[in-house]
């Protein structure tokens, strides 16, 4: 009896804690949005973060995209061949990348490459009282430090996802056309004919944009909220990666449900 009561109490406590944190985080993000003026008026601040979050993620994003595309082509070719539709491999590769794998995998990579770095940097600035010093100099750290990072993430994520998809299609082309001998013309023309701009590409961009906002929101919040100690920053960094990954996958499902047109309803 006592055990059950204790369990319920712990569960309730956990839920209240989680809701409280969620509310607190939302309020924090609202404050960041309200303080975003400077990030655009002095765009050089955001440019610097675009470099760190975006440009420095290019290598891992391009290389991963290339490999994912190559694997997709290999796997797809085998299956499609059984149905005598091996030329459709281009469509398969491009559709999976643009609608799903591009935004999702790029999001997961972005969270572990750029999101974790943002959390660690902001957390360390807090630990070493740099944010406090900024406040005492009458400069709002939300406007000067957090908002530029947030917007850099929101801007760079769709671009990175697009690059991921382009590299993936290129990888698929390498494998399908150069390695497996699919006809070059069919590969491209089928892709062009089958992929709908709005249903495919626009939806993919919407996804990557939403993921970018979610990941950077989590990253800057965790950094700003980290306890000002070494362990505090370390566990905040881990939380960023875990929470972003869950957020990306859950949001992907929700967004896909909204975008789903398969039933013809």
């Amino acid at each position: 009896m006592n055990d059950i009561a204790r369990m319920l109490r712990r569960l309730g406590g956990g839920v209240i804690d989680a809701v409280w944190r969620l509310g607190y985080a939302s309020r924090f993000i609202a404050m960041v949005l309200a303080a975003s003026g400077m990030a655009f008026r002095r765009f050089s601040l955001t440019m610097r973060e675009l470099y760190f979050a975006g440009v420095l993620s290019l290598v891992i994003i391009s290389v991963s995209g290339l490999f994912v595309g190559m694997v997709l082509a290999l796997q797809g070719f085998e299956t499609l061949q059984n149905f005598g539709a091996a030329e459709a491999v281009g469509v398969l590769v491009a559709t999976s990348l643009v609608k799903e794998l591009g935004p999702v995998v790029a999001g997961l990579l972005f969270a572990s490459r750029a999101g974790s770095a943002m959390t660690a940097e902001i957390g360390l600035m807090k630990t070493t009282e740099q944010l406090s010093a900024m406040e005492m100099m009458a400069v709002n750290p939300l406007a000067r430090v957090v908002a530029p990072r947030f917007w850099a993430g929101v801007i760079s994520m769709p671009l990175l996802a697009a690059i991921f998809s382009v590299m993936g299609v290129f990888g698929g082309w390498l494998v399908a056309v150069k390695l497996l001998g699919v006809d070059n013309g069919t590969f491209w023309s089928q892709m062009q004919a089958q992929i709908d701009f709005r249903l495919g590409i626009v939806n993919g961009i919407i996804k990557s944009f939403v993921f970018g906002a979610a990941i950077t929101a989590i990253a800057v919040y965790e950094g700003y909220d980290a306890p000002p100690t070494a362990e505090g920053v370390a566990s905040a960094t881990t939380r960023t990666v875990v929470e972003s990954a869950l957020a990306v996958l859950a949001l992907d499902f929700v967004l896909t449900v909204f975008m789903f047109r398969g039933t013809g309803l």
Binding site: M125, Q130, M136, M137
Partner: protein
């Protein structure tokens, strides 16, 4: 009977009470900092000196009591007024708190770039001037990671006075400095104060150095001001607490130990189990 603060006082703390969570740090602090003076706040480690500076800067709000700066209650200002007030305050943080992604030069230039629209060549001259004053003009291009602790503190000092503030707060300006830079910084605090027509609050436990330069001293212990006076008064004071500080004795009214259960019972506890 509450009297209004004299116009000549820049900072007034009245019956200030403050604690972190359940732990009360400041019980009842009363002190005033007259305009144009250099005032020291002294006390043992952990007695709440940094906390007092944060209260003056408006980063913390007192549980009760009032903190007045230039006659205005800091805790009641809205964000905009608070920032306007902070623009006229400089604070040297205990550990420097330099921005690690910027050079020493850019750190000192930071408040100028944020709050003025001066052209870059004038900012350059102003920054070099401040760095020269702390003897680190040659280190302008170094990053905080390449500076020693004492050098970082001096850069932070240059940054704190970059905007020629009316109130300068120093948190442990003397800690970790060699004897020569010690008296240089001491001199500097005094000269900056007088040259800028500013008012300074120096938090320190270095009594020898501070008695040379300050106008007035407050001793804080257990959340209260327990002694105060001019350096001349303190040197002849017979308050045991002050004597302990002035003579540098380890044992006396200032405990070396953080409050704890008795040492003997803690050591014996394991054996008893």
């Amino acid at each position: 009977m509450i009297s209004p603060p004299a116009a000549s006082d820049l900072v007034t703390l009245r019956d200030v009470k403050f604690g972190y969570g359940a732990r009360t740090v400041l019980r009842d602090i009363n002190l005033t900092v007259p305009r144009g003076k250099v005032v020291a706040i002294m006390g043992g480690s952990g007695c709440g000196k940094t906390t007092i500076l944060r209260l003056i800067g408006g980063q913390l709000r007192p549980k009760s009591g009032e903190v007045l700066v230039a006659g205005r209650p800091v805790a009641k200002l809205n964000a905009e007024d608070l920032f306007r007030m902070r623009r006229r305050m400089g604070m040297l943080f205990q550990f420097g708190a330099l921005f690690t992604d910027m050079t020493a030069f850019d750190n000192v230039a930071f408040p100028l770039r944020e709050h003025t629209s001066l052209p870059e060549d004038i900012i350059h001259d102003l920054v070099i001037l401040k760095l020269q004053a702390v003897g680190l003009r040659g280190a302008a291009g170094l990053r905080p990671a390449e500076l020693s602790g004492g050098m970082a503190r001096r850069v932070a000092l240059a940054r704190a006075v970059a905007l020629d503030p009316m109130l300068i707060m120093y948190d442990e300006p003397f800690a970790g400095l060699d004897p020569i830079s010690l008296s240089i910084i001491g001199d500097l605090i005094r000269r900056l104060n007088d040259a800028l027509g500013a008012t300074s609050v120096v938090v320190t436990h270095d009594i020898i150095e501070s008695l040379k330069i300050v106008d007035y001293v407050y001793f804080v212990s257990e959340g209260r001001v327990i002694a105060q006076g001019t350096p001349a008064e303190l040197k002849v004071s017979d308050v045991p607490y002050v004597r302990q500080f002035v003579d540098g004795e380890t044992d006396g009214p200032v405990p070396f130990h953080y409050p704890a259960a008795s040492y003997r019972s803690e050591l014996m506890a394991e054996i008893d189990e």
